[in-house]
Amino acid sequence: MSFNPSVHFKSFLILISVVAAPQIATADVSVHEERLAKGAAIYRAKCASCHGEKGEGGTKQYSEPLAGDASRTELVQLISDTMPEEDPGTCVGEDAEAVAAFVFEHFYSAAAQIRNRPPRVGLARLTGPQLRQSLADLYSHFRGTPQVTEKRGVKAIYFDGPSWKNEKKKIERVDPVIQFDFGHNSPGDGIDPKAFYIYWEGGVLANVTGRYEIIVRSTCSFVMDFGKIGRELINNHVQSGDKTEFRRTVTLTTGRVYPFKIDFIQRERKTEKPPASISLSWIPPGGTEQLIPKRNLISDVATPTFSLELELPPDDRSYGFERGVAINRQWDESTTAASIEFAQAASDELWPEYRKKHKQDSNENRGQLRAFLTEIVEIAFRAPLDEELKQRYIDHQVDTADDDAEAIQRSLLVSLKSPRFLYPLADQNQSLSTRQLNRLTLTLFDSLPTDDWLIKKIRKNELEQVDTIRSMAREFVKDFRTRAKLHDMLLEWLNVKRFDEIIKDENLFAGFDRLIVCDLRDSFEVFLNTVVESETSDYRQLFLADWTFTTDRLAKFYGDSWQPLEKELPKTEPIATEPIEVEPVSTAPTATAPTATAPTATAPVTTEPPKAKSVEKKPLETANTSLPELRRSVSDSQLRFGVLSHPYLMSGLSYHDATSPIHRGVFLIRYILGRTLRPPNEAFTPLSPDLHPDLTTRERVSLQTSPDHCQVCHTKINGLGFALENFDAVGKFRDQERTKTLDSTGKYVDRNGAEFSFSGPRELADYIVSSEDAHRAFVTRAFQHFVKQPAAAFGTGTLDELTDKFRKNNFNINELIVEIAVIAATRDPSLSK
């Protein structure tokens, strides 16, 4: 079809005087369409050979699809400056505007992409982490998942004499960590140093999934159970010679509490006795050895926990978040191995307990075994079993194997490899309550509903209402599992998981060693958790907080602003003193749960003078007073801006000898502001500072990125990165570089084309907390991480709606997660089918 623009133009002139407004729109449309047609023609002639007819890319010259989030104005500039590649400058002015308009509307913009390929909730199998968490919960079904608690430390009972005798019980208290050196002295009043027994019991909370090395150093006899009381990890019942160090490696799952107990015994003996000492340490994944810190020790009784030792293959991340879409041999083998490992735990631990508990039940035709398996498989399938399924997954397997353990293995192997377990959303035949709860637990816990009270609710179909789901989500968001998932999301959002080992030039940054890096990482992560888990859970605090967490080492290296808020660690701090049997003691606020605005220091050493009836006891002096436990730092509103000023981030986004405004800029634009950047045209080696001794880093970077084709992206990147130049390569604050005064001014053009400029990190932080781009980026990241589906699949306005609510809720992160979970649980379009 062809048309004559002049005809339209004339009609516009005539009609404008009659009814103005609607006609203007019509006219605009026609002008716009004209421009699009022109743009389409130019695109076909000059662009399509490289970019593809529909901007799909995939050609030799340009493989990436033409899609992104630059504004239309930016596209015009880019085309004028750089296109076509072989002859830049030949497509400018109106031509460039026309092509930009066509590209933008037909495939480049986010809206065009959604229009061309409407996102939907796709089928997905359990991802690796979801499989791990689901198996852990499946195991926990029989004994319950641990309740969330803020109680930290380890319960301790001290006995006079080498064994548990109630009348010899001398001390009951909560020890903050396990590190004692009693020497030849008594561990407490009324206890004969010749022979005593200390019983510690608690839980270890894992913050990240991975291999942990547990290290116990003990000069005395001890036995340690881990994961379940009765599941022995280290048996040093015999103290022998100078064997005092015991190491075991275990895989722990994030957000899980692993119960443990230690029986520590100094025995009376005829021969010379070594001095009594013990410590409990670990090497977390990617970390160095440290005492298991108080924040990871739970002083409440924890239920037994299963942790899959198997390493699972990584999941597809091609959309920027993990999705369970890859179906291949490697994955299949991992599901087999995981099933076998789980079945072993089921037959070794769950089955004997079940049998004991149900010994009154009829066992005709191995009825107890069938009932046991039915109970597990119904949880795994998130649905009751009908006769056919029971026949296939239970009875057939039991009938094939005479041996109970083998029957359990068979039944669980086939069940845990079944699509009914592996595809959590293949549940169209289930009740609405069931399906909503499946989605809620999958979103928040990466797992499935296992607790009896939940199962009862869905059997009664009580979870249909959105409000019911919302109030459950509010409960679930406090769960250790959700906290762990949120923690992981923050690390993904800040991209710190992909940091290489941080190493700096020893001459330029003397004293910046591995221990400092580990302290920084702990400080960074505990800071994030503290903000998020506080009452206000305020996103803005992540950029505005003027405090952080510090250690003596960090204070020594970074100076005054890293001094702890309270200089002296109290040697003993009496805490609540009820006997443990009555009610676990409440400890002082810990590093994991102060409020964001006024965090309190960790109570580092809290030995408890127990009020055990008639015996008067004094608090103990222990070796713990020199612990490198994290403490809240002093405030410094001049130098500290939440994560932006944190040396872990700033040193991670630097070279070993200099800052990297480019890394910092890319970090800000991609992760904090959520904009897309295409990869550089080619790999560049940064200009060496030594070759340009007169230039500041800023000048050097500007020089290297000055060509037009670099500026396409670097005009966005550099302006942000330069604003953080006040933090050197180890994150120390500076005003000068060498002898030159620093220029830390920067600018940013947002998604809507508005330009913002700022000078220094304070103004950058202020901009970020008010930036719509940043809010949206955070919400998007949270949605993807928790739901693992595109937000638009739940309605085109989903992201806008969530971002709006986020702002209205004072940027409360926990509330955001609740709203995301509610949408994921109740608005999956398949629910209405």
Binding site: L123, Q239, G241, R269, D332, Y393, A405, P419
Partner: protein, 445 residues
């Protein structure tokens, strides 16, 4: 042609002590020619606790015309393939009570570390200061590609108490490194055959699985079915491959790959000791046939072990009975019965090995295996570690079997040296060198 000269004659003529011979002359062990070469050699240490009743254990006559007393009578079928070694004493002193040193020094030949575990008498002690001879030989065999096997050694147990202390460990991988025996036959089965069994199990359940995919498909939108189709077709492929693999295996059908079938649901409890013992011994024979290992230990209970042999009509625990004076006739009689039962187990294992042809070799598996039946004490009520029971059955070590020997109180370290030498890895000393100066025992070949 040279006349054949025995090792003994050679040494007598040259005037070199047996121990020095191997080192000074770098000679391969003369007379052990049969031990080298291609034949497999296996060595098994069988442990039963609390000493024996010597008068009903040791033959009265030594030499080849020896007699079998009541306790050893079950071995009568193997008299020509067995050897008793009287007069071998565990001389190791130091920390630990008799039972602790009895088991902890039995295969290590060295003292226990100071420690905090107090026995009934003497000083407290910890673990052994050295490696045990079974683990030492395992390391030697594993370091040579010709003798290397999948596991090197296997440590079997029967009702070993669920606690790690000096009384429950016989085998040591090194100083302070006790090796826990596996006393659950199902656990041992998993170690030996777990992977193969799991593949068989997988092969047999996949059919159930693929059928159910079709049902699940109904619950999935049409757009998403492709993923499920990919999944099910992959499962089918795996199923086919596994079936082919299983068929191939059953066609081969050789003993080395045959998976034994265990009796179901046998729990670890006192009354099941006879059945568990059989299951474990059968697994050992199977694992040897498959050449999974050439060294094994077989620990029935533990030092101070107290099984109640109700199947023999004995309600008291073994250890308790072993403290009774010889004048307590009923107890004395029961102890003979208990030890006879242990001997029956040794005889069962010998019989199983004798009945099984050596895979890829000559004779029976017993011809290439030596069972060493031993104990932590010589006699229960005296706690003596003199005259430790050592009864050898089978031809693994290449000793001259069919004789009863009396060494008149030699330290048992010398016997440990003989084991090393006979397995082709002679040592100058093993354990505490103070007890090794006279070298390996003579007269064994």
């Amino acid at each position: 042609m040279h006349p054949t000269v025995s090792r003994r004659d050679f040494l007598l003529k040259t005037g070199i002590s047996a121990a020095a011979a191997n080192f000074m002359l770098s000679l391969p062990s003369l007379g052990w020619a049969s031990a080298s070469g291609d034949r497999k050699q296996r060595l098994v240490f069988i442990f039963s606790p609390n000493g024996v009743i010597p008068d009903h254990f040791w033959p009265e006559k030594t030499g080849t015309e020896f007699d079998l007393k009541r306790i050893l009578a079950p071995l009568s079928d193997f008299q020509s393939q067995m050897m008793t070694l009287h007069g071998v004493c565990n001389r190791i002193k130091g920390d630990g009570d008799g039972h602790m040193r009895g088991i902890g020094c039995l295969l290590t030949g060295i003292e226990l570390f100071p420690g905090d575990v107090q026995g009934g008498s003497d000083t407290p002690a910890g673990w052994s200061m050295g490696i045990s001879v079974d683990q030492h030989l395992k390391n030697k065999l594993q370091s040579n590609p010709n003798t290397q096997t999948r596991f090197g050694s296997l440590e079997f147990g029967v009702m070993v108490p669920d606690r790690a202390d000096t009384w429950t460990r016989m085998s040591y991988a090194g100083p302070n490194q006790p090796v826990a025996p596996i006393d659950n036959p199902y656990q041992m089965f998993d170690k030996l055959y777990g992977q193969t069994k799991n593949r068989m199990m997988l092969a047999s359940v996949l059919d159930d699985l693929t059928e159910d995919f079709h049902k699940v498909e109904q619950m999935i939108s049409v757009e998403d079915r492709r993923m499920l189709h990919d999944h099910v077709s992959m499962v089918r492929e795996i199923e086919k491959e596994l079936q082919a693999e299983m068929e191939l295996q059953s066609r081969k059908g050789d003993v080395g790959h045959a998976i034994p079938k265990l009796a179901p649901n046998v729990e670890e409890q006192n009354d099941n000791i006879p059945q568990i013992t059989r299951m474990q011994m059968d697994l050992m024979v199977n694992s040897f046939a498959a050449d999974f290992a050439r060294i094994a230990s077989f620990q029935i209970t533990n030092s101070v072990g107290s099984p109640k042999m109700k199947w023999l009509g004995i309600d008291e625990g073994h250890h308790q009975l072993s403290h009774e004076p010889d004048t307590n006739e009923p107890a004395y009689e029961k102890l003979i019965k208990i030890n006879t039962w242990y001997c029956e187990q040794v005889a069962y294992l010998a019989k199983r090995l004798a009945e099984t042809p050596e895979p890829g070799g000559d004779g029976s598996m017993l011809d290439n295996t030596t069972l060493v039946w031993t104990n932590e004490l010589g006699k229960g009520n005296s706690h003596t570690r003199d005259n430790i029971p050592f009864v050898l059955v089978g031809g693994g070590l290449g000793f001259k079997m069919g004789q009863a020997l009396d060494f008149k109180k030699v330290p048992h370290n010398r016997l440990l040296l003989s084991f090393c030498e006979a397995m082709g890895h002679p040592e100058k000393s093993f354990g505490n060198p103070d007890f090794c100066s006279d070298g390996p025992l003579t007269g064994l070949v």
